[in-house]
Symmetry: C2
Subunit: 308 residues, 2 copies
DNA sequence: TACTATTACGAGAGCCGTAAGAATA
DNA sequence: TATTCTTACGGCTCTCGTAATAGTA
């Protein structure tokens, strides 16, 4: 069967006549007549009762018409769904992110995204970099936002922002009263750090090693939240990503302690498969990301609040 | 959207590649490539991710593919349904019949029909001739089988059999012992007849009036069953259609009394709309009808059993 | 090199329109 | 006569195939 023939038959069946069907399809009436004959010949059954003037479908015609109605309703629904997808009123955005980005940076960004495109299904997977890469590779995720960057994959990576590690202290810490604090002073105070081997700790140790310095942690903890708690409790100074402390800084539980001769930064990377034609949902997210990180947010003063 | 384009896209999506899709459709690969581009241009979205060697649908492609699967499944189902209809494994036969035909003639015929075509839905409406004609006219019935025949309709009518009215008597009735019984003898015995004005009674009265005779009913009853009961009870002779008495004759409750000089017959008519192309279910029924009534069943002897 | 997709171009089938014919109310 | 469907025929679009090109493992 030929579905374009079926479309002609269906128009005729709906309108109740060859002439009316032809008008609806903007075809000439003989063309319609001929195409319906072709359809009838192809399937070998009369569809329209031509015995008298009153237009009437045969039972085969009724049967086929009911199928045609469903088929063309589906076609229309498909077109509608595609239009919705293009208008970002339908679709899915699947992002993978590292813990820090996923917990502190993305929630607000995804909130804005959801405000703009409320019908898009959002999926956020928080996992380590290699797992995010794997999930991207198998197309379970569309983009990844991570700090680290493993090599030898087919993924495209671009840096979209920088993450700064900052020293935090309890609000009553004596160093906060100093006008200028140098890195070497940190070594005199107890520190609360991530465990050795973690990406953050490696970065910190490497930055201080460049100055021939070694920090002495009084405590190591597995995540930034625990470090913030320990610092607030006065156990020592901590070093965490500035993304993670805006709330605690704003409410005065901890304070950022600028170090005059020390900046520890790491790039934040955007990962994606090298698709030339990106999904509309992804393109919209990347646009949003660019708007927020086109210029790096400035850090001014000790109590700067991150833009996000 | 063009559904023939969609078919090409769907084959490619199913097979996972332009080349494989082309093989399945028995088309050249460039043709497939071009048609898919045409489809993408028409709907304005990329459907297939061409960024690397691994064939993959975009999310729009996935969406459209799922609709295509449903659309073409429906198309296949429609073709299957039509084939079933042609093979008389699906369909409907709606017959209207008068009481006598519907109750005594059709059950066996429809039993045979059902044995041949067990999946055809059978509808039998028992009603008077004018109602049957009306229902035929509005296409609620496909054929009608009636005794009478009202005029001025657009229905085609053909006689398919004759119905003989026979005199019945209780098995111990004295006339049954006579070798030859003439019509005038009937007038000497009490008769149980249908009420005046009924089609059957009109026929009887007319036949006897032609011989200048008038029957004297001792009782009039509204239907043949009641007449048979009255006759069996010895109230008198009855005149009923031979279609209605085969059971009672066979089991000896009543006997047929042949009248040498009297034959009361009426034609049985087949009514249908003047469709040139008849439904397969109807054609099959008409064939069956012709096989059984091609020659009128002979009546031999007094206890003849009707062929049906 | 082998495989896959795209581009280019020509041939042919099939679709559609105009005009005329047939049937019916 | 007016309306509706069918038949006849010619043009044109669209689809398909062959051949050549490009990109990738």
């Amino acid at each position: 069967m030929n579905l374009s023939h079926l479309a002609i038959f269906y128009a005729v069946a709906c309108e109740g006549g060859f002439t009316k069907g032809a008008r609806r399809l903007r075809l000439s009436q003989p063309a319609v007549s001929k195409e319906i004959q072709a359809l009838e010949n192809r399937i070998g059954v009369a569809l329209i009762d031509r015995s008298n003037r009153h237009f009437r479908l045969t039972s085969a015609g009724e049967l086929l018409s009911s199928y045609a109605r469903r088929i063309f309703a589906l076609e229309e629904e498909a077109e509608h769904a595609l239009a919705e997808m293009q208008g970002l009123r339908r679709g899915r955005l699947a992002i993978g992110a590292s813990t820090t980005i996923g917990n502190y940076l993305l929630p607000r960004l995804l909130g804005i995204y959801r405000g703009l495109y409320p019908h898009i299904e959002l999926n956020l997977e928080i996992a380590n970099t290699s797992l995010v890469q794997q999930r991207l590779f198998e197309h379970a995720l569309q983009i990844g936002l991570v700090e680290g960057l493993a090599s030898n994959t087919e993924l495209q990576a671009t840096q979209f922002a920088r993450d700064e590690l900052v020293v935090i202290a309890a609000p009553d810490h004596p160093l906060l009263d100093e006008h200028v604090v140098m890195a070497e002073e940190l070594c005199k105070y107890p520190m609360v750090l991530r465990e050795e081997g973690s990406g953050t700790r490696v970065l910190i140790d490497r930055a201080l090693a460049a100055k021939n310095m070694v920090l002495k942690p009084v405590m190591t903890l597995g995540n930034s939240e625990a470090i913030k708690q320990a610092v607030a409790a006065g156990i020592g100074l901590g070093i965490v990503s500035d993304l993670t402390v805006s709330v605690e800084v704003n409410c005065g539980r901890v304070a950022i302690l600028p170090i005059a001769d020390l900046t520890i930064e790491r790039p934040l990377h955007l990962l994606h498969t090298p698709d030339r034609n990106r999904e509309p949902t992804v393109a919209a997210f990347l646009k949003l990301l660019k708007e927020h990180f086109g210029r790096r947010p400035k850090k001014t003063g000790r109590c700067v609040q991150n833009k996000l």
